[in-house]
Amino acid sequence: MRKYTSKLLIVIASVALAAYFLYPTYKDYSLHKDIAPLHGEDSLAFITKHEKEILENRTKRIKLGLDLQGGMRVVLEVNILKLIEDLAKNKDDAFVQIMKEVHEATRTTDESPVLLLRRKFEERKIRMSRYYGSLRDDDDKIYASLEDEAKKAIDRGMEIVRNRVDQYGVSEPSIQKLGGSRVIVELPGVSKEAEVRQLLQGTALLEFKLLKDPEVAYRVMTEIDKILASSGVVDSTAADSAKTVAASDTSKIATPEGELSPEEFAKKHPFFTVARVSERVPGEAFVASDDKDKVRRILDREDVRRAIPNDMDFVWSAKPDQRFSSADKKYFVLYPLKKTAELTGGVVTNAKSTLDQGTGLPIVTMEMNSDGSREWARITGANINKRIAIVLDNAIFSAPVVRNKITGGHSQIEGMENLDEARLLEIVLKAGALPAPVEIIEQRSVGPSLGEDSIRSGILSSVIATLLTVLFMIFYYRTGGAVADVAVVFCMVFLLGVLAAFQATLTLPGIAGVILTLAVSVDANVLINERIREEHATGKTLRASIDAGYARAWTAIFDSNLTTFISGIILYQFGTGPVQGFALTLMIGIVTSMFAAVFITRVIFTIMSDRFSMNINFG
């Protein structure tokens, strides 16, 4: 057993790992290349044929930052100040004055507005119960409940934004909470500013809508099915979906015409193949998340739209249905709704998720104001045993059955799978009562053409810089330089591999980081090669010089890279978006370059001198 065998294995394993992580990026690129020359029907057919592959590779590839692919980045802030102002009752001059001071104070500090408010009250020796809670409550209790409200408002704001972005249908949106009261939304490829503003800032619309009668809904869906079957648009993947359906239920699919094989079923019932209906839950259709776009396209067709009655709408569930979804396959529900809303959410005054004291099951209670209560009593009285959907911004969060007439405005909603689901419903119902006021405080958009220019100049400068460096190294250090160049190539492959594994985003400063990594990687080898030359000059054998060179250079390489790494960490902490991308590539680059420049070159030198007894020329 030679002593370099295990080291060589480590090198091969890391290359294989990097290749494994990079493959989706390559595949994504080549699929894009295949689509590019296709138009209209052809490209659509290609997309449907390769849908799964495309989606899979897209989620695993190295993502391009907004500055490279174009798109919009918006930072929203939930206005806590406005919220606590809205929550107060009996507002008088003193209160207005205090709010003004708190507003001033928030400009210079990061402390929570609620805490600032409390201090102002204490300064003036006014009890908070004058404006909040009930008279008997002490400040601690009111403070806690206000902080709680503020926290919930942010969750609500985030949920509203997420829901809307989901409905808007942007590919790969990113929604993140930033600090205490901010939400960052990144929308790649979107540039319509007015639309986005509307999307993110408009008041959330909560509605209660009746579900259509299941029989009517089934009739309409059958009609759609017939239209699709007769127009002869059968796509090749439908049979596959039908097969998976068949596999999960029974081997054959039972239909009124008798039992059909999956292929026959897909041909005869193109709509029911993707939108599955079940006896157990009449009136709903289940659509696998992969098929959602397909069904959306079907419902958008002119002839299909004509088949849907004027007062009816198909509306999606906001989240995948818990009952039928599993970890790898998620199903959304398509509900047939009556178009006009019975009631809008403005009448909801409060909502709360709890566990039912009798049964221990999660429930949500909802209160309405007096106008709402009256309407609600009429609506529920007239629709006993029918279902009413709770719709926020055109997505359904729940569709409970009305058990009895609800008078007095106090309703109780049951049937949630778990407490999380109940909490989500609470958030949704409150969105009608207490809209979380969000403001856009930062908005950046990059047009796609600037992104393309940036990629082009980024790639051009990378290629030139790499070529110059590689040639210089060979020129100056001969064989030693060539080995260093091999290390540079390894370093780049590892860097990209790690980026892909982290599913990191490559930004324009990130490309600069890649180029700088090149320089760092070269530096390590310059240090080593210079040392080897020095040692060799003292008369040591080549083998001894190499060993000593690596040993002596190591502390310098380690310390100098670690200090650069420190500035990388700080950069990552401080920066936003593109700058973080730079910091991340720089840090990963330092690690991969140390591995490539120190470990891999050593293995190569060892093999060259031991296995092939070569005389290595260090120039």
């Binding site: 110059l468 670690l562 401080f574």
Partner: protein
């Protein structure tokens, strides 16, 4: 191939001359900053910034007239890379006569350049609160990195080396700032987030170079225990000279490539790093090592006097 044979240059004896040179450059930078002020970018100023590309060259004067006609006065207008690309910046994100400034700017350009269509390359709107926060964070980030790095050096080497590191890093930041301020105008060298990233990176690469020399001094100190520090330093710097030139030469070359071919967005970033590569190399010898030497000589003088 070797650029340097065994050298024995006496670097340290000429250090006082270089203190003066460094001070002069930094002074020139301060004067330039006092006269020109900081050319802060949209990130730190807040406001609305639009970068548009016209299909034909658009004179800046015409752009100004068109915008003034649309009711946007006092906008900053300058060429961005070429005479077809124009950067327009208004100090506010608010609305002008009920229309958002961004839309107002677009309308104004559309009306003023009817036969010269344009498209928007980039649009940023930064609220005043964010601008102030980013400004504060940037200063914190630079200070934090200086302190963290110096602490690391002080722990890994000796306290004096940590002091040498922080002074030389501060020197590099100030010299680069001086060049950025002086050359702004010929090039678009606004201080924005990318520029701050460049400053933090040059701090990283500069310390990288310093640590390599410190490491050599540390090593030689163990071998030549009785050699005076001045000679040790000269010896170490000479031994590392080849590496210093090869590494920093290739970094310089790489940065020059980004500066020339990297496009307008990266220009300021690459410029600051290029200056940083030069001053970082220089400051290793004449600031970081020199300070360590001065401090050592001072403590020695004290012990002699006592």
């Amino acid at each position: 191939m070797r650029f340097f044979k065994k050298t024995s240059i006496d670097f340290m004896s000429r250090r006082r001359v270089w203190y003066a040179v460094s001070s002069l450059v930094i002074l020139a930078g301060f004067i330039s900053l006092a006269v020109k002020g900081f050319d802060l970018g949209i990130d730190f100023l807040g406001g609305t910034e639009l970068i548009v590309e016209f299909s034909q060259p658009a004179p800046i004067g015409d752009v100004r007239t068109a915008l003034e006609r649309a009711g946007v006065t006092r906008a900053e207008i300058k060429a961005y890379g070429s005479d077809r690309n124009i950067l327009i910046r208004a100090a506010t994100v608010a609305t002008v006569e009920g229309v958002a400034v961004g839309d107002r700017l677009r309308e104004g350009l559309k009306a003023g350049f009817q036969d010269n269509p344009f498209h928007v390359l980039k649009e940023d709107k930064i609220g005043p609160k964010i601008g102030a926060e980013l400004r504060r964070d940037a200063i914190y980030a630079i200070i934090a990195s200086l302190v963290a790095i110096s602490l690391y050096v002080a722990v890994r080497f000796k306290f004096a080396y940590g002091v040498g590191a922080i002074v030389s890093l501060l020197h590099d930041v100030l010299v680069t700032l001086a060049f950025v301020s002086i050359c702004d105008g010929f090039l678009n060298l606004e201080i924005d987030q990318n520029m701050i990233a460049a400053f933090l990176t040059l701090v990283g690469t500069s310390i990288n170079d310093t640590v390599v020399i410190f490491d050599r001094i540390r090593e030689n100190q163990r071998i030549f225990k009785t050699m005076p520090l001045v000679d040790l330093m000269n010896k170490s710097i000479n031994e590392c000279l080849s590496r210093t030139f090869i590494t920093n030469g290739s970094i310089f070359m790489v940065l020059l490539v980004i500066l020339v071919f990297g496009g307008e967005v990266l220009r300021g970033f690459a410029f600051a790093l290029t200056i940083g590569a030069v001053t970082g190399t220089y400051s290793t010898v004449y600031i970081a090592s020199a300070i360590v030497l001065e401090m050592a000589q001072r403590t020695k003088a004290k012990t002699v006097m006592a």
